[in-house]
């Protein structure tokens, strides 16, 4: 049977992708950002997932204002990195586990999550930056990737509670798949940041670190946080962090925090990262 063994929370700041692509990760500015991912890359080698279920948001790349699905699951055979205004990132094409993806799509809908199925989709930095920070610059991504795009651009994003429960449904879907597969789930975005208007540049490290603490100690309580708290305390774009609840919901109630990294700034954003393992994994 397929199993979700661990979860990764990770910011997906576009400038981090630019730093990797330009080869400037050793600069004074970027060094502390990437130092915190060295252990993560070791961990990824060790964990060696067959499939990554990657929860991210599209930044008006695959979806402009004309269609705004709350949850869109990638079911295509592969996903090309998109041109986001500066040409596509020079990263490998993202390959799906198409059979598992269609199984999950079917299972989620019967489990009363009305997701949108994407048989064609390009993926933006929201998906490729977390792969780059966790894997570096391989010729091909070492794992297959099932993308789940969540609307966080137009208010309201799905509630934390909805995201947490979706995580549980994803776990049920994965565990009802016959093939033996090691699946790691990523929740991406955040942490505190505001990109717009006169309050741009807002960063709230106390709030961010409390969020990281509660992912382990109080995930259900954390998932009840109303949107207004993200918007006010973590900035208008900080609401991306609802996506971390999908990751957390897919794990055991009891998890072990095996790694954490927090750094300010990367461009306009606080970088946050956490790795959580299910306690019953050996």
């Amino acid at each position: 049977m397929a199993r979700i063994t661990a979860g990764v929370g990770c910011s997906h700041v576009p400038a981090i992708g630019v730093a990797i692509d330009k080869g400037i990760t050793g600069d004074d500015y970027w060094k502390p950002v990437f130092a915190g991912f060295e252990k993560s890359r070791e961990w990824m080698k060790e964990a060696n997932p067959d499939v990554i279920f990657l929860v991210y948001n599209d930044h008006c790349t695959a979806f402009d204002s004309s269609i705004i699905p709350t949850f869109a699951l990638g079911a295509a055979a592969e996903f090309q990195p998109a041109d986001e205004g500066w040409g596509p990132r020079p990263v490998p094409v993202v390959k799906n586990h198409q059979v598992l993806a269609s199984h999950i799509a079917q299972s989620l809908i019967l489990d009363e999550f009305d997701i949108t199925v994407m048989n064609e989709m390009e993926v933006d930095h929201g998906l490729t930056v977390p792969l780059s920070v966790m894997y570096g610059q391989p010729e091909e991504w070492p794992a297959l990737v099932i993308p789940l795009a969540v609307n966080v651009v137009m208010y309201p994003a799905p509630t934390g509670n909805r995201c947490y429960n979706l995580g549980k449904a994803i776990r049920r879907a994965v565990e009802s798949f016959d093939e033996d597969l090691n699946v790691v789930i990523f929740g991406t975005g955040g942490m505190s940041h505001q990109l717009q208007y006169k309050r741009a540049g807002l960063i709230n490290p106390e709030w961010d670190n409390a969020f990281l603490d509660r992912l382990t100690s109080d995930p259900v309580g954390l998932s009840q946080m109303p949107h207004i708290e993200y918007l006010r305390e973590a900035g208008s774009e900080g609401v991306e962090m609802v996506m971390w609840h999908v990751m957390r919901g897919a794990l055991d109630d009891e998890v072990t925090e095996v790694h954490r990294h927090y750094h300010v700034p990367a461009s306009n954003t606080a970088v946050g990262h956490i790795i959580l393992e299910n306690k019953n994994e050996d």
Partner: protein, 130 residues
């Protein structure tokens, strides 16, 4: 109408369904510049290209003036307007320098020093606004 509990955050627009409706053509214009065809067509004939998007005269003027805050006030959204900025060669951080009125260097320094603090920046009343 229900009360919008997010309208008392200073210096912030929450891009809700109302703003998405009003800003639709402005945002669709901006996002079209994310693709090479859009950028080329806009460069070739800016006025004709803008004619394809039936935005309000105020929205159109804000685009022409590259008045980044005005675009947001008129229901543009940052993920969209940033594509127009990218077309002009302005990245997210420099755009923030413009929107905050701080300028590039002061904004960059604020971020390196830990960003804009939350204290004093939660409520419009703290900014002397209502």
């Amino acid at each position: 109408m229900t009360d919008k509990d997010y309208e008392d955050i200073p210096g912030t627009f929450v891009f809700d369904a109302d703003r998405a409706r009003i800003g639709y053509h402005l945002n669709q214009f901006c996002i079209s510049l994310g693709k090479a065809e859009g950028r080329e067509a806009f460069t070739a004939d800016p006025e004709a290209y803008l004619d394809r998007y039936p935005m309000s005269p105020e929205q159109r003027q804000a685009v022409i003036d590259r008045d980044w805050n005005r675009m947001l006030e008129l229901c543009g959204n940052i993920y969209y307007t940033s594509k127009l900025a990218a077309y002009d060669g302005i990245n997210f951080q420099d755009l923030a320098g413009l929107m905050t009125g701080m300028g590039r260097e002061a904004y960059r320094k604020m971020m390196v020093d830990g960003g804009r603090p939350i204290d004093g920046n939660r409520y419009k009343s703290e900014w002397g606004e209502d």
